[in-house]
């Protein structure tokens, strides 16, 4: 399976490199998209210096981690983002004609290399945040940061999977799913607690963003010493299960309606 994915990867890389000019233009565009958000944060903090109890550096740390998870998910799970068109142009029929798992094939169908621009920016902000936050680094805090990035990536990928699955039912995909993906990265730049109790509860129990962001962040910043918070990002990964079930139902429906 890994070898096969490697083959797909090299084909995607080769294809992308056929259009170098367009690739770099898109890379710049992708970088700009997240860079302007970063500029916006900077402007706000020049004026306000803090938001609730969080400093500029802490917000950058938070955004950096989220952006890393998001950009990796965007790069490798982007097949689901174009899944409605895969159904429309018959590409999914082709996938069903092949003796491999469907989810694997959709993942391998598209690798969006331009997200490297966003990933790099996430890394830069993370490093800056790490260096400038007054955090007493120890093993469990480092592990927590890693879990946050991984959990974020899995959570975003799960939402892309869900987004793609919805195309089985509506054919055009549902725009409101963007709220949970693009909305989460756009508004997840700030720790979720600033949006108030209601939003925090929603992001804890419905779409578990707070489990990869707010709670472990308070642990990393030393605002909480609850060791349970270290592992919450892993718990959030379970969100994949309901999304996968929706996918299965969708595939069954597709096979019975043919569209």
């Amino acid at each position: 399976m890994l070898k096969l994915y490697g083959k797909y990867f090299s084909i995607h890389l080769k294809s992308t490199m056929q259009y170098k000019g367009s690739f770099f233009a898109t890379l710049i565009g992708s970088f700009l998209t997240s860079f302007t958000v970063f500029l916006g944060i900077s402007f706000m903090f020049q004026r306000f210096h803090k938001v609730a109890e969080f400093s500029y550096e802490e917000v950058l740390l938070c955004y950096g981690i989220m952006l890393m998870g998001f950009s990796v998910a965007q790069m490798f799970a982007s097949g689901f983002k174009v899944f409605d068109s895969m159904i429309a142009n018959g590409e999914f029929d082709r996938i069903l004609c092949r003796p491999r798992n469907e989810i694997f094939q959709v993942l391998a169908y598209r690798i969006d290399f331009i997200r490297v621009g966003m990933l790099l920016q996430g890394i830069v902000m993370l490093v800056y945040g790490l260096a400038s936050c007054y955090v007493d680094w120890n093993f469990s805090r480092v592990i927590t940061v890693i879990f946050m990035a991984v959990g974020g990536c899995v959570l975003f990928s799960a939402l892309f999977l869900l987004d793609g699955s919805i195309a089985f039912f509506t054919l055009q995909g549902l725009e409101f799913m963007n709220v949970f993906t693009y909305g989460a990265i756009e508004h997840g730049k700030y720790p979720l607690s600033i949006y108030g109790k209601g939003m925090l509860t929603f992001c804890t129990f419905v779409i578990p963003y707070a489990l990869v962001q707010y709670y472990p962040l308070t642990y990393v910043l030393g605002r909480s010493d609850n060791p349970l918070f270290i592992f919450l990002p892993l718990l959030a990964c379970l969100f994949v299960v309901p999304c996968w079930i929706v996918w299965r139902i969708g595939v069954r429906r597709y096979k019975s309606t043919g569209s």
Binding site: Q18, D93, L96, P99, T257, G258
Partner: protein, 263 residues
């Protein structure tokens, strides 16, 4: 061996009427119509047979092919292909069949054709020696030597179709479904494709089921014809059976469509 018995499939289609008022109305309430794509289809195709599957647009051809390839589940009826139920054991089933959709491509647009082939080798887990042997053979038979190093986007339609067919045979499928393989091809490519399919059937004894609108394809290839219309098999026989006194094949078929009232 393909055995199909009393396959039925009904689709629910949202009705959409033209006009502004209708569009507003559809916001709140939608009406559906039911289309019987397959209305009790039965046939049997033996190993090594070559069968032409014809019928007007929307007659149920592609629904049948989709069911046989395991993409679509029928509402009722039986279908056994070499003992497998296609939609029940999808992954196992598709390893043994090849499918060519004439209007779509499985080749990667921007990389040389051989890269697409190597990807297929991994997808179907084809052993290296089998893969090599097949590529060599297919290259010779389909005259691909000049094409394998070229990106698919630079190939002509006919060249691409030859590569396409080669790609779906790399894993030695016992059964090949061809959905309009000669659509849009120039005369030379058409002949090459027909010639190849014929040889494939004779030399490898691959079972071929071919849908087409090109009656010359049928004339050149199929010893047996299945005619489907309005979801029913209307005729199952040889070309000689349906031909009436030397009239042109297109006219014969047009007459048949008219006779069964399926145009």
């Amino acid at each position: 061996m393909i055995e199909v018995q009393d396959l039925r499939k009904t689709f629910k289609v949202a009705r959409r009427e033209a006009g502004f008022g209708q569009a507003v109305k559809a916001l709140f309430h939608r009406e559906y119509t039911y289309v019987h794509a397959l209305d009790g289809v039965s046939f049997r195709i033996g190993d090594g047979e070559m069968v032409g599957y014809i019928g007007p647009n929307g007659a149920g051809k592609s629904s049948t092919i989709k069911i046989l390839s395991g993409i679509l589940t029928p509402d009722s009826g039986k279908c056994l292909i070499d003992g497998r139920i296609p939609w029940k054991s999808r992954q196992k089933h598709v390893k043994e069949i090849g499918v060519v959709f004439g209007q779509r491509t499985q080749l990667w647009w921007d990389v040389p054709v051989v890269d697409s082939f190597e990807l297929l080798k991994e997808i179907y887990a084809i052993p290296t020696e089998v893969y090599k042997k097949n590529v060599d053979q297919l290259t010779e038979l389909l005259d691909l030597a000049q094409l394998l190093r070229t990106p698919a986007r630079q190939l002509s339609l006919g060249q691409r179709m030859r590569c396409e067919i080669a790609g779906s045979l790399l894993h030695n499928p016992k059964i090949l479904f061809l959905d309009e393989p000669t659509i849009g091809l120039d005369a030379v490519s058409k002949l090459a494709v027909r010639d190849f399919i014929k040889r494939l059937n004779q030399e490898r004894h691959t079972t071929v089921l071919l849908t087409t609108h090109d009656m010359q394809d049928i004339e050149a290839l199929a010893s047996r014809i299945l005619l489907i219309g309005k979801g029913k098999i209307l005729l199952d026989g040889s070309l000689e059976d349906i031909r009436r006194g030397g009239s042109h094949i297109d006219e014969t078929v047009a007459e048949l469509y008219k006779k069964f009232d399926v145009t």
